[in-house]
């Protein structure tokens, strides 16, 4: 049972809460204890918009433990519009081919079942193609 860990990460998982460095204004996701850009402490919360584009992707046929039910699935590096990259699954593709540069937006989905039957369901961010209409 890894409840403490999932609870600790809930803001990142549900709302893409990262940080903005008060010293150099860098936007950080995932949050870090020390800003990698200026070396000072970064502790100011910053909620990312959730919009970005596909930086790279791969379709996975073999899934690791905890993800068997999802397979096959697509893992991507998404470049958020504020700058950072994030590792996440793509979802709601509906057979649409994935391309580098494709605009995507964050949604909340079940990301894994932890520890099989006795475990808990873990929800968090995935990204889907941007729906039609103005952003």
């Amino acid at each position: 049972m890894e409840v403490p860990r999932h609870w600790r990460l809930r803001q990142q998982r549900y709302a893409l809460v990262g940080e903005v460095c008060p010293h150099c204004d860098a936007k950080l996701f995932p949050p870090r204890d020390v800003c990698p850009h200026c070396g000072q402490e970064a502790r100011t919360r910053f909620t990312f918009s959730g919009r970005g584009e596909v930086y790279s992707y791969t379709h996975m046929s073999d899934a690791p433990a905890g993800f068997e039910q999802n397979a096959p699935y697509t893992v991507a590096l998404v470049k958020l519009e504020e700058g950072p990259l994030v590792t996440a699954q793509l979802t709601d593709l509906d057979g649409k081919p994935v391309e580098i540069g494709m605009p995507v937006e964050m949604v909340t989905r079940r990301i894994r079942s932890d520890d099989g039957e006795k475990g808990i369901l873990v929800y968090g961010y995935k990204f889907r193609p941007v729906l039609a209409g103005p952003r």
Binding site: R5, L9, Q12, P30, R32, P36, Y55, S56, Y57, T58, H59, M60, S61, D62, A63, P64, A65, F67, N70, Y73, V75, A76, L77, P84, L85, V86, T87, A88, Q89, I100, I111, R112, V122, G124
Partner: protein, 386 residues
Amino acid sequence: MSDVVIAGVSQTPVGEHWDWSLRNLAAQAVQAGRRDAGGLMPQVVYIANVLASTVSHQANLGSLVASNAGLAGVEGVTVEAAGASGGAAARMAFLAVSSGIVDVAMVLGVEKFTDQAYAEAETALAQTMDADYESMQGATPTSQAALLMQRYLHDYNVQHDCFAGFPLNAHANAAHNPNAFFRKPISRQVYEQAETVNEPFNIFDAAPYADGAAALILTRSDIVPKDVGHGLVRITGSSIVTDTLALHDRTDPLAFQAAGFSIERACSQAGILPQDADLFELDDAFSIYAALSLEAAGFARGGEAWRLAEQGQIALGGSVPISTMGGSKGRGNPVGATGVYQLVEAALQLRGEAGKNQIPGARRALVQSLGGPASTAVTHVLEKLI
């Protein structure tokens, strides 16, 4: 200049050793390593291992391995840096002997992958990524490599087949390595028609994980027994550099920055340029890693390492031979032990004992191990002692 020499080496065949436990594999490498070093008794054994805690429920290998293998009482600890563990343990032994406090140090790489079913052991490897932000999203070490390859194809406008030269070279070299897991060459056609596992990635783009143990004995040259019966190899450069653990925390994931810096530092310590090396045992856990490592070390510009492969420059007779005994792709990838195998293979090249894969007149080798996608990079420069 450092006076740390490799007095002895050993390796067990890499493969699926259902009959041998971790301690048995380790004991074989320990005993063979001591014999090769003329019977030298190490005062310390630094053990490179990644999976024993999870796959075999076994920690504190220092105590277990030493007492089972006839090294009762010696200093023993485990050193871990994911796939770079073998190189990292060698670095610790290099520092220990350099200090003058330790006379004889053994580096032992041992990995027992098959104590769990393949899928479960492979899942255990996800611990080498960022557990909170990579593995928790369903990513795996293989998917990290596939993400890099996909972006490489995009940025440099090349096709997947351009990577064929890496596994072809590795398998060709492994064919003559008696300790290799796979001893059959593969053809270009086989590569091009292979099953895609993580698009754009096929089954030949990833080295197979396996069991294995290998050892090095490091000491000062004046301590080596006179009748040791083989050439000596000096360690003239040694460096460990880290980068972010997660790929997404980097500005340019294709840069393999730590790999480049680590080569620079080790070469600068040895007073050589990378081009002065006669071979480069790099980390080819994935084809794309071989390409990015060559580029990071400066052997090719970004997007062009695959040309070295296509032109035969990475082959035994080329300008920068890599994976000369098969690399992880052909020899097999015993994870934490891999870095020790690489050093053993390079030492055998410099001793002139590489059999059919011998690079004529090899005097200098660069050896680099990576933890994850160059999240950690360990580089050693080895030179033949004249």
